[in-house]
Symmetry: C2
């Protein structure tokens, strides 16, 4: 009897937790597991806004996959997924192919630009280590150009979207700007950080007291907010708002939304904004051998509304997915995915944050410290104490 082949696409939160759990639970020769990822590293997506702003190093959010994966138990294949050929149980990579018996699609998200013209071409997005390194270097380059040209658009930073990523990013930017000003001889009062949101409020859906606190902290740090303000157009020189106002800004970062990975749609799965409504076991409808988890999976709450794609839900899906894969192989019962919402924490730059844990609302340093604690917990889940010691010290 052949050993079943499990292929996991993507080493983000969902894929990596699936792999780590399989590695723990599977017995010798029970399955051949291959983890495919574009890079040889995993990154802590929930912290990408820090290297993007330049307040943390690139290395601090990067975890080499071979530091958490035991290569005697799991094959690692560096590669870019181009298409999934479900009819032939095959994954097409840009430089090869892989057969599978069971597939886990954990390919993450892509920016959703809602058809706003020029955004895809001219705005940056916080989506990978390479993309945030580019943002950081771009901002520094623009500051250096300001000293040469004295054109204010080089030191005007527009962040589109005031959800979690947008809010956390402007918090980090506000912390970084005084240092950039010192480094590049730029007058601090000339720099503008403008956070633009189409919805009537920042952090839509969040507790009003926490929203007020976040806006107060960030406004004091120098962030300007424009809510109820859709963006109409993005150009290399800035943006035009729906109300006709033009903002000249050489740096525009879009954090306004994500959609599922386009590979999923291209491979023939039925999607909504690129996401697949999976069954209670996280299996794609119409299949028995394809799990979809993380940002490309659509799961609904009891009121019938989709859960937003977060690291928290992806991690929990990774645990359920690994459990169900083992159940399939062993012929035992799978378990349905039940989301255990533990709360939400957002940082607002150094030493400041807001959050909800259960019914408790947190703000200020407490929230910042809790965020740090959950970061450490994630590192522990991934790689135990050694990884906590290695990476924990970098986290702010």
């Amino acid at each position: 009897m052949a050993i079943p082949k499990i292929v996991i696409l993507g080493a983000g939160y969902g894929g990596l937790i699936t792999a780590v759990n399989l590695q723990k639970e599977l017995n010798y020769n029970e399955a051949e597991v291959t983890l495919v990822n574009k890079h040889h590293y995993h990154y802590i997506t929930t912290h990408l806004h820090e290297p993007a702003a330049g307040t943390a190093s690139h290395e601090s959010v990067k975890i080499n996959i071979d530091s958490v994966i035991n290569k005697e138990k799991i094959n690692f294949r560096k590669g870019v997924v181009e298409l999934i050929d479900t009819a032939n149980r095959r994954v097409i990579l840009s430089d090869g192919e892989l057969d599978y018996d069971y597939l886990v699609i954990a390919l993450g998200s892509e920016p959703e630009t809602f058809g706003i013209e020029g955004l895809k071409e001219h705005a940056f997005s916080i989506r990978s280590l390479n993309s945030v390194r580019m943002i950081r270097e771009h901002i520094e380059y623009m500051f250096s150009k300001y000293s040469y040209t004295h054109d204010d658009s080089y030191i005007t930073l527009v962040v589109g979207g005031a959800g979690f990523t947008g809010i956390e990013f402007v918090g980090e930017l506000a912390d970084r700007v005084p240092k950039l000003c010192a480094q590049f001889d730029v007058p601090l009062e000339k720099v503008r950080i403008i956070n633009i949101e189409a919805a009537p409020t920042v952090l839509p859906g969040f507790d009003q007291r926490l929203i007020d606190y976040a806006m107060k902290v960030l406004t004091e740090k120098g962030v300007e907010f424009k809510t109820n303000t859709p963006i109409k157009l993005c150009t290399p020189d800035g943006i035009v708002l729906a109300n006709g106002e033009e903002i000249r800004a050489k740096t525009v970062v879009w954090t306004g939304g994500v959609r599922g990975n386009s590979v999923v749609e291209k491979s023939g799965f039925e999607t909504m904004r690129g996401r697949v409504k999976v069954d209670p076991y996280l299996i794609a409808p119409g299949y028995e051998d394809v799990f979809i988890i993380g940002d490309s999976a659509l799961v609904f709450n009891e009121e019938g509304r989709p859960y937003p794609p977060t690291a928290q839900i992806a991690t929990q899906q990774g645990e359920t997915c690994a459990y169900n894969l083992i159940a399939k192989i062993r012929g035992s019962a799978m378990k349905p995915f039940v989301y255990n919402y533990k709360g939400t924490l957002a940082s607002l730059g150094k030493g400041e944050g807001i959050g909800v844990i259960g019914k408790t609302k947190l703000l200020g340093l407490t929230a910042a410290l809790m965020k740090r604690a959950t970061d450490l917990r994630y590192l522990f889940m991934l790689g135990g104490i050694p990884l906590v010691l290695k990476k924990g010290k970098f986290l702010p």
Copy 2:
């Protein structure tokens, strides 16, 4: 009797040495000296190629003017010179005016692009602290973009001109590239540094054995040379050579030549490539009260050929200029400027150099060490032992 007003325009090598020497020699109330400069700092121009390549910090080549000027003896005025109104003995700044009895024009140079199309718009030049900071940040930004796009033009670096600045710059770039590759996950073998020179050889006029040594050292470090190769056109995406060849390169740095400051020409002085042929006392022809020194002054050697503009000649002119200003004030005899050529040293990156001192030719580490010694000597001339201790440690 009114105290004569001396105004010095520019705090480069010539202007700053003039000011330092006046400060040393002038008695109380013998003259009112004002030094005008665009920035509050002087920079060591002969080392600008290092922060441009990123091998040294911006700070290492920056000397705050108030660390060498005694403000009780010399007024410092931060300002940009727009025009010299010799008829009314007046200097027009962008934000004011200054009257003078004696004027020293030491405004430095501007890049000479020899009419090559697009060079002014799309090529960088190594001319000021702000300009080299921009080069450094640009290169880093381009490396970060390569990791995102895998387009080779982002990691192709073209340096136009293989005179001293060009050669020293490619030497530093070659030292920096391996570090950039590590930082931005770029394969080293993909990076190209191409040095292009219209003349038949690099370092035209230099000793052939030293030229051969320089090319050998730099070629081993990975620099490609194209001599006998004029550039026809520069675009945002690269250059086109006179032979029609196109090189796609997002970074083009022009070091091919300099001309005198355009303010001199605009102010009605007769110039050749922006430089004024001064009399033996460094006075502009037709004037008694205007000295011109440094890159905007044209001085001829015994064979009737102009000396190239260097830090060495500017520094010596500053000494003579200060002497002659004091002679004017005291009614004593001025002395003609005699250039005392002490030799030439060029670095080729870390621990490597070439040079001529008297009839002695130097290469390798000896030349590199001698260059360091002359750097320290300059710091000593400017600010004595304290400045040597403060800045000397930064110099490579």
